[in-house]
Symmetry: C2
DNA sequence: CTTGACATCCGAAACGTTTCGGGTTAAATT
DNA sequence: AATTTAACCCGAAACGTTTCGGATGTCAAG
């Protein structure tokens, strides 16, 4: 079938050991011999069999990432697309490949993690979208397998692992205060499912913003959605149905904000005039939306790149200068939040 | 370290062979024994070592894909992002993982292919963006390794492999005729680099469209770009600098069309009124652009899914009902092409 | 002439799995 | 009672590589 060390050994007249060492760049093989062996290897089109290598426990030069396929397909413009791009670019720069599995969270998902980790297919893993008491983190810690996380644990839980996160509590506080400063007194909120770790941070940030703005928190101004467009649509429908006083809606991510905009527009209302809308993430679609979306910017692509650099450092056993990075968010004002109202 | 068959064998009192066969679902092991072994395996958290399996030549349940990292990073909204999403979703549905390597075309790139194929890391490969006399196709055919391609070979070259492509010659003919029908008499074209296989199809389609519209083909109305926004920007700058008569520019893909729009707007001209613009692909950003982009729609996501289904059929040794699929393109008219002119 | 150092090479074991070709026992058949 | 059959089990080889622990030969130093 494929050429293997044995073939090169036979053709060159040396032993398998010597061929392996010659190709491996060891210095206890004569330079002439090495050249000869390399010549034979090239002429036969030799390519090492990686499973055999990995069986010996060597590096796979591969980073694993499991993408939650929520229900439907993962949308082409969302958070993960961008994160993946950052991770992929940084990985390729270091000659690492990416092993990707898209999985619906649940039983199957952990099996995917086990396959990658225990199955010895990857040197390290990138996790995203931390959940409450995240079993994936527990598993990887227990296995002491290198990993990095996009997003820290929920408030009150242990954060004893390397992560990069954006201070979304600050983000939501800023957004809420901004809405208050525009004159809004009744501000709705669409949160992600409660099992997502950052839900609490965003919830708290919203409360803080209201408080600083001198407004009262009302639980019935808060809806929950599935982080997709559809969830934002339904969340906004619900809020608009039950809370006629609302003049602003903040969604926990851009995709839901876009869904909320559809809901508002579907009722014949105008986004930015009748109801102000804001999101979180600043995905590319935010800029191109009609009207363009006011949002909190997260440097998702850069986070992906930095995560890979952290992960590779861990894999190589280097010390991390910063293992837990909390980035400050930035408000991006566009048309969807409208202008100051009475 | 990790639990292996040997551990289960020792703990359960059976041999490695029997454990393997019990777990593998063979019918020559007593049902009670099997249950007992499965119990022990679970209690030890057993996960098979995949390299060891693959070394025996078994399926890797993995599909490989190499993404050309043009120069810079691959943009988050482009063709590949969508294709990847389609491929990923379809693969996960069949419990296949994806091994992705982003590479700059050239020497390194072929090494990546060899690593995946000869290195025995994937069961099959998905190629995209065919080039002239594509060495990747030659290699995979020679290795008789399962693969499918998004995009057929250039005109005149052999197409003896499974692919899905959109009839881009027809696409460009339609676009060009559409521009003519709007009254344009001087229509510029921005083509991809000549090594890309579909460049000739699009070039020919443009010529056909001109001919049917009764216009003469002029080589100096044609510019080339790198398929990125920047290439479209430069291509449009060049055309506008040298050909003041132009009232329309067709770009070979949406990303370049968006770049061309920036160039036009940068000169204080209005897209759709002063210069009509059209693209090709209908990526999500096309719809959200200002003005929204007139383009030819390619069902990229679906193509990704169908490619995976074809590839898995090949891997399983099934007969393909259709191995070479040519889809008909669809014109999507939006604001960037403006309205009828004098 | 012996010893040691050095350069160069190699045999064999190991990694964890699957699978071929049996083996053993007990029940069923002659 | 002898033979066949079926059910269940297992030893050992194989996959292709890396690497430990030498082996061999040459040459300079003692």
């Amino acid at each position: 079938m494929s050429t293997k060390l044995k073939d090169i050994a036979e053709k060159s007249g040396y032993s398998i050991t010597t061929v392996s060492r010659a190709l491996g760049g060891y210095d206890d093989v004569n330079e002439q011999t090495r050249q000869h062996i390399i010549g034979v290897a090239n002429s036969l089109g030799y390519e090492p069999n990686l499973p055999a290598r990995h069986l010996r426990g060597l590096s796979t030069q591969t980073i694993g990432m499991i993408i939650p396929a929520n229900d439907q397909t993962f949308s082409a413009h969302d958070f993960f697309s961008q994160l993946l791009t950052g991770v992929g670019d940084a990985a390729s720069r270091e000659r690492y490949d990416l092993l990707i599995s898209t999985q619906i969270p649940g039983e199957e998902e952990m099996a995917s993690y086990r396959r990658m980790v225990r199955g010895n297919r990857v040197d390290g893993m990138v996790l995203a979208r931390t959940r409450h008491h995240d079993p994936r983190i527990a598993y990887l810690q227990e296995q002491s397998h290198p990993f990095v996380v996009s997003g820290r644990s929920a408030p009150g839980e242990l954060n004893d692992y390397p992560f990069i996160d954006v201070d979304s509590q600050a983000g939501l506080r800023i957004l809420t205060e901004f809405m208050v400063s525009l004159g809004h007194r009744h501000i709705g909120l669409i949160l992600p499912p409660i099992e997502i770790a950052y839900t609490d941070y965003r919830h708290d940030g919203y409360r803080e913003g209201l408080e600083r703005g001198g407004l009262e928190y009302r639980a019935d101004y808060v809806a929950y959605g599935d982080l997709l467009r559809s969830g934002g649509y339904r969340g906004a429908q619900h809020l608009l149905d039950t809370q006629p006083l609302l003049t602003a809606i903040i969604a926990s991510n851009d995709l839901m904000a876009l869904g909320a905009m559809s809901a508002i527009q579907g009722r014949g209302l105008q986004v930015g005039r009748d109801v102000a809308v804001a999101g979180f993430d600043d995905i590319p679609a935010a800029e191109y939306a009609h009207p363009a979306l006011t949002t909190i910017q997260q440097p998702i692509y850069e986070i992906g790149q930095r995560l890979v650099r952290m992960l590779l450092a861990i894999i190589r056993g280097e010390e991390l200068s910063e293992a837990q990075i909390l980035l400050q968010p930035k408000l991006v004002v566009r048309a969807s939040s409208g202008s100051k109202i009475a």
